[in-house]
């Protein structure tokens, strides 16, 4: 894929830039779709029609919203800290975008095939919180500051169970490389980690062999619980309802982005959507086979057309990612917001002990088998 772009453009520097910007194009397109999906699903869950006026069935509403954000006056509060106020949305989005560097969209399309992919992903996801704190403090507004502090406490806490849940799968694969984790799940949906992982021996790209047999079904309940822990923590890390206390409208006006308007608010918004897709795609990669099709074979391989294989990979990644993004929207209009103390109770007294216990049990079984 990278080679293909190099051949197409000819210039090395230009090709590298195009290669780096590709996920951004994806995020922009996805955000447009997701904004409409959010509005429409919100309306349907509440038995409303949603936007209907802009274009047929309201499908141009996200474009109108983006245009509105671009045209709006850019207001910086007089007592705000100008430098940090302007820097914060950038940092938040950079944090979200940096993680896309290691996300494998298809077997041949991954920005950087790092051996540490999963670890890198966990590490850079903590960048966003710095931007959120920065924006909250620089706004010089008590609601912003409260929102930022809640967000910091929340993200720092929920990083622990989400990282532990991901490490449980890394322990079974014996690699932190995301492509290795996907390769371990090849051969159909019954080999996905949500259903206990591979049921026959798998050879990784590095030559290492994962020994597995049908007995791997013992992992099914354990990994199901692991997935639930990961998904709940991911929800909390992206500040989505029922964990949206950093921006809870009824208590904090708009939380950390109260003072932001125009495209700077748009950046926060984009970062949230990018993060939603990111954690969903990671759930898909780690537990649901990533770019693998559910029945193990692809049309492109059967007909020997590499381009089709690539497109199919991107399709499955996007489809699985979108599904979990939809579940997030679904939960948003189903569950009420938690209180701060309930949030901390949930993390420190439920999810963290459970994830540690699961790590111990899974590790023990992996070692004795």
């Amino acid at each position: 894929m990278e080679q293909f772009i190099h051949d197409l453009i000819g210039n090395d520097l230009l090709a590298t830039i195009v290669w780096c910007v590709l996920p951004l194009v994806f995020i922009l397109g996805y955000a447009i779709v997701a904004i409409l999906a959010e509005m429409k699903s919100a309306s349907w869950f509440q038995d409303r029609l949603g936007p209907m006026r802009t274009g047929p069935w309201g499908i141009f509403q996200p474009f109108a919203d983006v245009l509105k954000l671009l045209m709006k006056e850019d207001i910086v509060p007089a007592r705000a800290d100008k430098i940090l106020f302007n820097l914060a949305p950038v940092i938040v989005f950079v944090g979200a975008y940096a993680a896309f560097a290691v996300l494998p969209f298809a077997s041949e399309y991954v920005g950087a095939d790092l051996n540490l992919g999963l670890f890198y992903l966990i590490a850079v996801s903590s960048f966003g919180v710095l931007g959120i704190i920065m924006g909250g403090w620089a706004s010089n507004n008590k609601y912003s500051l409260l929102g930022a502090m809640r967000s910091a406490a929340q993200i720092v806490s929920y990083e622990v169970p989400s990282a532990t849940a991901l490490l449980i799968v890394a322990m079974m694969v014996g690699s932190l490389n995301l492509q290795d984790i996907i390769t371990a799940q090849s051969g159909g949906f019954w080999n996905w980690f949500i259903l206990g992982g591979p049921k026959s021996d798998v050879v990784l790209a590095s030559g290492a062999v994962i020994h597995a047999d049908i007995g791997n079904f013992v992992f099914l309940p354990l990994l199901l619980a692991t997935f639930v822990i990961y998904y709940l923590s991911a929800l909390a890390e992206t500040n989505r309802t029922p964990f949206d206390i950093p921006e809870g409208e009824s208590e904090l006006v708009g939380g950390y982005h109260t003072e932001y308007s125009g495209m700077k608010f748009g950046m926060f918004f984009m970062a949230e959507y990018a993060n939603m897709f990111l954690v969903s795609a990671v759930a898909a990669v780690v537990f649901f086979g990533g770019w693998q099709s559910p029945w193990g074979i692809t049309l492109g391989e059967a007909l020997d057309i590499p381009v089709l294989t690539l497109l199919e990979g991107v399709f499955w990644t996007a489809a699985k990612g979108f599904f979990f993004v939809f579940v997030m929207m679904w939960l948003r209009w189903t569950l009420p917001r938690l209180r701060v103390d309930q949030l901390m109770y949930m993390c420190w007294k439920v999810l963290i002990p459970a994830s540690f216990a699961l790590a111990l049990v899974v590790g023990f079984i992996v070692v004795i088998r």
Partner: protein, 164 residues
């Protein structure tokens, strides 16, 4: 100059420049936030040294953990702008001597040491498994001891924060 050299100088510039802001800024929050760029620059330098695990660990622990807590603390302080941080008691002559001796020693080490320079890059792909193996075999005792030390620190912190 190769591309790697250019990247090295960019990271070095980022590290040193932001470290200067950390030291000289009169705004505590600016200091705290520019520390983030210092950590990032150092992580970049680790990557150039092929220490990939160390680089990501640097991000994970310093940016994701320590820095967030530090900024948390700074934000809760009453005044953050124009705070006189340096202490009033200054002894110019002893300070000059100490700094001079330190600088001299560093320069001496820098010039006298025979630095090992490798031709090309070593064929090591990823240091994770090597570090992992070393931690649970040759360095098991130090690893466990540091774990116990951290546990004691956590218990002590929880004890001090407890309501009486």
């Amino acid at each position: 100059m190769e591309l790697t050299d250019i990247i090295f100088y960019i990271f070095a510039l980022v590290t040193i420049g932001s470290a200067m802001i950390v030291v000289f800024s009169r705004n505590l929050v600016y200091s705290a936030f520019s520390l983030m760029f210092t950590f990032l620059g150092v992580a970049g330098l680790y990557v150039l040294l092929l220490a990939d695990f160390l680089a990501v660990t640097q991000l994970m622990i310093y940016v994701g953990g320590i820095l967030v807590l530090m900024i948390f603390g700074v934000m809760l302080t009453h005044r953050v702008v124009n705070v006189e941080i340096s202490s009033g008691a200054m002894r110019v002559i002893p300070a000059t001597i100490v700094v001079g001796v330190f600088l001299g020693t560093l320069l001496l080490v820098l010039t006298r040491t025979k630095w090992m320079v490798m031709e090309g890059s070593p064929d090591v792909i990823g240091t994770t498994s090597m570090i992992g193996t070393a931690l649970v075999t040759d360095y098991l005792l130090p690893f466990e001891v540091s774990g116990v030390v951290l546990l004691v620190a956590i218990v002590a912190a929880a004890f001090m924060a407890r309501k009486r």
